[in-house]
């Protein structure tokens, strides 16, 4: 790649070469959130630059490419070529944060799997809405596991490979335990009485729920 180390100093005396002006316009148009006016470009580029010519050259350079340089009134912008709009359909995906209820439910399944709905409710201390489970199933982050060999043979939930992939985990066992969360500073370090019991139970999860 070519370097233009002296460009700012040069500008005191003369404008940079046209090729340089062109790539400056290119960078500004690319990075701007809104179309850029010629006056704005003039203010940003070194004194004496010929913005109109640089833009014309730039527009020509992008002819037939996947990206175009277009004029919008007296402002300029870069846009993807209209014929390639079909490629951009995925850009319109809207990302939303998972609700707190869903995150907590997901965390319980991840840490305690296989977990029944009753167990999730027991740990969260509130009932789990149908929608929350459905959402997690829909995301393919949890799926049905084996039924518990307890009265009523309730269904259980386990996390999926999609979940592991999303969270960058090799296995659910890689999730840090309470002790480690605390060590990593993710928990308030206020050891409550009888906490030791809690933390041990943390590693031997299946047994935690065997009460009847």
């Amino acid at each position: 790649m070519m370097q233009y180390p002296e460009k700012t100093e040069q500008s005191l005396f003369e404008a940079p070469p046209m090729a340089e002006q062109e790539r400056m316009c290119e960078a500004v148009l690319f990075a701007s959130a809104d179309p850029v006016s010629v006056r704005d470009l003039e203010a940003r580029l070194p004194h004496g630059s010929d913005i109109a010519q640089a833009l014309t050259l730039l527009q020509k350079r992008y002819e037939g490419r996947g990206v175009r340089v277009i004029r919008v009134g007296d402002t300029w912008a870069m846009r993807t070529a209209p014929d390639l709009g079909f490629l951009m359909q995925k850009e319109t995906v809207e990302t939303r944060k998972l609700s707190r209820a869903a995150i907590e439910t997901l965390a319980i399944v991840a840490y305690h799997q296989p977990a029944t709905r009753a167990e999730i409710e027991e740990i969260r201390g509130v009932s789990v809405s149908r929608g929350t489970i459905d959402q997690l199933l829909g995301l393919e982050w949890i799926r049905l596991g084996r039924r518990k060999m307890t009265p009523g043979r309730p269904v259980t939930f386990v996390v999926t490979p999609v979940f592991l992939d999303h969270f960058g985990l090799e296995t659910a066992r890689d999730l840090p335990g309470l002790k480690e969360l605390r060590a990593a500073g993710l928990l308030e370090n206020r050891p409550p009485p009888g906490e030791a019991l809690d933390e041990e139970a943390d590693d031997s999860q299946p047994e935690l729920f065997e009460e009847d």
Binding site: V93, L98, L106, I108, L169, L175, L178, L186, P192
Partner: protein, 263 residues
């Protein structure tokens, strides 16, 4: 050999001022290793060639001065001081062949390695922060494409959300106000109600233990609660004149009998 004398004699005024600045600034240091690194820089040599002995002496002087100024030093500074005092003695005394463990030179070499490594990490950290950075030196596309045709909602959560969510649930109990475990408590009201129903059949002296409700005599916690409330309920019934209690000697079983004629 006297440390203090040695220091007074050889340390120049500027060095002494620097040492004092070091002490006044003790809050600005990130632990003992950081202080050592700062001290070692004053030797103005390659970190691989520093005199660990001098460094140990300077650090001990540093800790002494902090004490004189009554500055509170965190425990790890003192632990380091103790370790350096030990290292100093190892370096000064001829090696004792009967002694186990690493030699003074090995320990000194490791300390030098730690300092060099910390310095190296600082250097590369500075280089890293000086890299061309997104949003400062180079920029991403500023404008999102506006070709909304398919609108699907994608839910995301980070591992941090997940862990914090879990931590939140699991520590919620830690901060819950204290409540009695109702499952193992047999209240006096319950005992009184039970005793009122049973006492009519207690014509002969009967051990109070026989009045404990079913299922409350196996678990010690539950037994204790049931015994206490049954005893209190019995006293209440005695007060009402419906029951008699007796105990032949200390720690002997308490026996109950209904008062004749109350039926």
């Amino acid at each position: 050999m006297s440390n203090n004398l040695f220091q007074e004699d050889t340390v120049s005024v500027t060095d002494r001022l620097a040492a004092e600045a070091l002490i006044v600034d003790v809050d600005g240091y990130e632990g003992p290793l950081d202080v050592l690194l700062t001290l070692s820089r004053r030797q103005k040599v390659d970190l691989r060639k520093i005199s660990v002995l001098d460094l140990a002496r300077q650090y001990l002087v540093f800790v002494e001065k902090a004490k004189e100024l009554r500055l509170e030093l965190a425990a790890d500074y003192l632990v380091m001081a103790a370790w350096l005092a030990f290292l100093k003695s190892r370096l000064l005394l001829p090696p004792d062949p009967t002694e186990e463990g690493p030699s003074g030179e090995e320990l000194a070499a490791h300390l030098a390695f730690q300092l060099e490594r910390l310095q190296a990490m600082r250097d590369v950290a500075a280089r890293l922060m000086a890299c061309d950075r997104l949003g400062r030196d180079f920029f991403a596309r500023g404008q999102g494409e506006d070709v909304a045709r398919i609108k699907t909602v994608r839910y995301t959560a980070t591992l941090l959300d997940l862990m914090q969510g879990y931590a939140r649930i699991r520590t919620r109990d830690d901060f819950r106000p204290y409540t009695m475990d109702r499952k193992s408590v047999f209240t006096m009201e319950q005992a009184l109600e039970r005793m009122r129903g049973l006492i009519g059949y207690g014509a002969s002296w009967t051990n109070m233990a026989a009045y404990l409700p079913e299922g409350w005599d196996n678990d010690p916690v539950r037994r204790r609660s049931a015994t206490a409330s049954t005893f209190a309920a019995s006293l209440e019934l005695v007060k009402e004149g419906r029951l008699e209690m007796r105990q032949s000697e200390i720690f002997a079983p308490i026996e109950l009998r209904k008062v004749d004629g109350t039926r």
